[in-house]
């Protein structure tokens, strides 16, 4: 088999590349390396585990920081109980209920709640001045008797009156 010049060139490239990284000798390299090694203390087990320990500590820190904002949103049980038992300030006092057009006076004068919208004094409180809703009464329906209904009046049909159609032109049936 005759090798082409291109194949010979590829082989020559491979040979030269291998020669470029060939490193003959080097017998003194290992003694030189050993001589340059510094003193090395045997590391205890916890030093060998320091990478794992650092990773675990980082995970714990992340978990702690992740859970912290959630604690702020949770209301303590004692605090919530106190808030529930505290009497809510009346929005409308008894005097305003007797007036024909009651206005909010004391409620707005009390401790304002920032969560509630501001109530102006010059407007009547329509919401609290409404009369109480009466209890619903049960509706009574009488039974409907078919016999009690009046009979239907006789139907009278008017006689039919036929008249010729007033047709003209080519469409007239008399022209056929």
């Amino acid at each position: 088999m005759i090798e082409s010049p291109r194949h010979e060139l590829d082989e020559a490239i491979d040979r030269v590349a291998a020669k470029m990284v060939a490193a003959p000798g080097g017998d003194r390299l290992l003694p030189n390396v050993i001589a340059r090694l510094p003193e090395r203390e045997a590391s205890p087990w916890f030093m060998q585990m320091r990478v794992q320990a650092a990773a675990a500590a980082a995970l714990l820190l992340v978990a702690f920081l992740w859970a912290r904002p959630l604690d702020r949103t949770v209301m303590p049980i004692t605090e919530s109980a106190e808030r529930i038992t505290e009497p809510a300030p009346p929005l409308v006092d008894a005097r305003s209920a007797e007036l024909p057009t009651p206005a909010v006076t004391e409620a707005s004068a009390g401790k304002p709640d920032p969560q509630l919208p501001a109530v102006t004094l010059d407007r009547p409180d329509h919401e609290h001045s409404l009369a109480p809703v009466m209890a619903l009464e049960a509706m009574v329906f009488e039974s409907i008797a078919p016999a009690a209904l009046e009979p239907d009046a006789a139907v009278v049909l008017a006689p039919l009156a036929l008249s010729e159609l007033m047709l003209a032109g080519e469409s007239s049936p008399h022209d056929r």
């Binding site: 291109r6 490239i13 030269v16 590349a17 470029m20 490193a23 080097g26 390299l29 590391s43």
Partner: protein, 212 residues
């Protein structure tokens, strides 16, 4: 047959993946405890390959030996960071490559020392098959071709020359080269093929090889 096998015959025969050798694990354990002899035995079998790795980066044997020594000391110090004792070879080679790159960067001018414009006959690689039965003219032409090839390879871009020379050493698989260079394995194969193509094209423009 893959493209890599067609273009890179030097890597056609790949070695099976190295299994965790119990002896290596034992030597690593002893070296971690401060046993220098064990560490010497650990790196002894890898030093020739380590020198070729460093030589692919720095180009000069003296610089390569210095890089290997620095890498060995660094490996001795960082032995605790080795997670899998059975993977010592790849871990050590990566340290050697990094140290060789550091040395290449620290050189005043790598190109002046490794890729100089002039390559004399003494710098050309000596081919073993140049037997005495060849004519003086044939020997002269062969040496000129070798010198031209070496010059063209040295003039390649580093991103192409590094994987090409690492593959030419015959010590590493594509996966190991990809890990050392921190590039995908497909990129390694393409760069090796591209380095070969550029080398051949330049040689043909210089009058060597097959005319087109």
């Amino acid at each position: 047959m893959t493209l890599a096998e067609l273009t890179v015959p030097m890597l056609a025969a790949t070695e099976p993946r190295e299994a965790a050798d119990p002896e290596v694990v034992r030597l690593v354990t002893l070296a971690r405890a401060g046993d220098r002899v064990a560490f010497g035995r650990l790196i002894e079998h890898h030093l020739p390959a380590a020198r070729r790795v460093a030589l692919a980066a720095v180009g000069q044997p003296s610089d390569a030996d210095e890089a290997v020594q620095e890498a060995s000391v660094a490996a001795w110090k960082r032995l605790d960071a080795l997670q899998d004792a059975g993977a010592f070879r790849g871990w050590f080679m990566r340290i050697v490559w990094r140290k060789a790159l550091d040395r290449r960067r620290s050189l005043r001018s790598w190109f002046d020392r490794f890729g100089g414009a002039t390559i004399d006959a003494s710098g050309a690689p000596q081919l073993e098959h140049a037997t005495s039965d060849a004519s003086p003219d044939a020997l002269l032409m062969l040496r000129q071709l070798e010198a031209a090839i070496a010059q063209v390879i040295k003039a390649l871009p580093r991103r192409l020359r590094d994987p090409f020379l690492l593959a030419a050493s015959g010590d590493h698989r594509y996966e190991e080269i990809a890990t050392m260079l921190a590039i995908p394995i497909g990129t390694v194969k393409w760069r090796i093929s591209e380095a070969r193509r550029l080398t051949r094209a330049k040689l043909e423009r210089l009058g060597h090889g097959a005319p087109r």
